[in-house]
Point group: C2
Chain length 122, copies 2
DNA sequence: GTAAAATCTGACATCAGTGTCAGATTCAAG
DNA sequence: CTTGAATCTGACACTGATGTCAGATTTTAC
């Protein structure tokens, strides 16, 4: 599929898809004229990239992680080096911390919301 | 307490503390000479600000939310307007989505980590 | 073959929180 | 007082993902 369709199906702008490729997170075949041509798998790949970005991982780290992931049908293409392994563990710890902050923040918002709703409906 | 101690006790840079004040998230008394003087409560306040920032809320929105929060010992100083209430609900939904992404990303990292650890220790 | 739609590259802008630096002023201790 | 540490304001830089625009090229539909 071409970039327009991939963008439509993932909700990601074409600009971002080109950026993902430039950062090494996404690969594409090219038509003879130079237009990008993506396999069906690209949809899931892009969604995963978005999730990892949302979790605060940087592009270049994602690019290094992706080849070490198990595909749904098989084993990883590369194996994680010890150095990468340490980084991944650090990222996981950071995510755990972030989830705790999110839980706190959500509770705060929830409290404000329910307090205000209570006032509106006495 | 003064800004140096507050920064030390919260792990937040003085630069950021001044920025928080500039954005209306944090208030301070001033010494006759113009130096900031914080009450003990400021410590918890700053920690909360950091959590809300980590959750992706923008400074100016945090500044509007904080007065509507219940203090541990009493009722809120202001009440949330309906418009703010809508924003809060949207933020809460966004946080829910983000938590889902974090869970996915964490699982991905965990899988890569345990796969690699398994290879290292066969 | 032609026109319209899609895509290409490359460049510059944006945002928001934080780092950093300079020069001036204030505070605390001797 | 004096001196050194702390703080003040204001300015500028950075980051990294994304938006946007321009001009050229390719693809698709007729």
């Amino acid at each position: 599929m071409r970039i327009g369709e991939l963008g439509r199906r993932t909700g990601v702008s074409e600009r971002s898809l080109r950026y993902y490729e430039q950062q090494g997170m996404l690969v594409s075949d090219r038509t003879p004229g130079g237009h990008r041509d993506y396999p069906e798998r690209a949809v899931d790949r892009v969604i995963l990239i978005q999730e990892l970005l949302a979790a605060g991982l940087h592009s270049k780290k994602i690019a290094r992680i992706l080849p070490c992931m198990r595909d749904p049908d098989g084993a990883p293409n590369e194996r994680a080096t010890p150095a990468l392994l340490r980084e991944l563990t650090a990222e996981r710890d950071r995510i755990d911390q972030l989830m705790a902050d999110l839980a706190t923040s959500r509770a705060v918002l929830d409290d404000v919301i329910s307090t205000a709703a209570q006032e509106l409906r006495p």
